[in-house]
Amino acid sequence: MGQAPRECGVRAAVVTRVAFHPAALVVAIGYDDGLILLARLSDGSEILVHRPAQDSDRARISAFAWDEKGARLAFGAENGEAGVLSLPKG
């Protein structure tokens, strides 16, 4: 409290969905061009999960869900594309 909010995942696209990892200080960020990043809050490092769609029209990420343990991230987009990320163990 009383501190400036931390910025992460800054890029020239609108964020349409966010979802905290259930255990780690990591947030999944989905953008309106279909790109998905995982951002670690402690150091701002980013990992690419999903590349922007070829046709960025209606590509916005519209759904996120982590599983209970945080091992998998399900996502969906307005253009009907969806997927499940399985985090590597360790």
Binding site: I47, E68, A74, G76, G80, L85
Partner: protein, 219 residues
């Protein structure tokens, strides 16, 4: 968790063909709520689709354990379990469902200027709102509901028992809190907690009994 620069190759993509309204994991399997009113279970090997809103679109969804509660533009609130069992929780006669929340077997939803809640035992209550709502959240403890609507927020001490208290100045007058923002907004939660605690004391003096006399813990 080892972080590498890209995890693109760890993603199994699924072409669903319909806009995705929500995602969840039910019984360990991914589930996608689609704009054509169906739920898509699974990610490749074993896939199936269950129509939960006939000839309608899924607008909002909330997960509660192994149930996914969806609200559609057919006015229905439907709970689907991991086995694909479907139960109609509410029917607003075609009014669009604007927000849903689910917690511990209880379900709440808003449609237009009405909020309704159904407890785990099946008791239904409703509340008139000053405006439509886009965000609903149950408090982690007890049967209480926070409602985000245009021009402010309400916290309902006991669902539907009395009119909710408006928190003036909590939300910007021109914006509304999304469900996510409501649950993550620490300032708002603290103020909700303070207000709820004040109202709890008021009700204690007024002789309204509460099952859980524990102090409300938020944040």
């Amino acid at each position: 968790m080892a972080l590498s620069p890209t995890l693109v190759d760890k993603v199994e993509t699924i072409a669903l063909g319909e806009p995705v309204a929500a995602a969840a994991f039910l019984g360990g399997a991914p589930v996608f709520a689609l704009a054509d009113g169906t739920l898509h279970f699974g990610d490749g090997a074993e896939e199936r689709r269950i129509p939960v809103h006939e000839d309608a679109a899924i607008l909002v969804a909330a997960q509660d354990g192994d149930r996914l509660v969806t609200g559609g533009d057919d006015g229905r609130v439907v709970a689907t379990n991991a086995n694909g069992g479907v139960e109609i929780i509410g029917d607003e006669k075609g009014k669009w469902i604007d927000a849903v929340a689910a917690h511990g077997g209880a379900v709440a939803w808003t449609a237009g200027r009405t909020a309704r809640a159904r407890s785990a035992k099946g008791e239904a209550k409703s509340l008139d709102l000053p405006s439509t709502s886009r965000g609903l959240a149950f408090f982690p403890k007890g049967y209480r509901l926070a409602i985000a609507h245009y021009g402010g927020d309400s916290v309902v001490p006991e669902c539907g028992q009395t009119g909710g208290a408006r928190l003036g100045g909590l939300a910007s007058r021109r914006r509304h809190f999304s469900r996510w923002a409501l649950s993550r907004h620490v300032d708002a939660r603290e103020r909700l907690a303070r207000l709820a605690s004040r109202r709890r004391q008021t009700y204690a003096h007024g002789g309204i009994s509460r099952k859980d006399s524990q102090p409300l813990m938020v944040a």
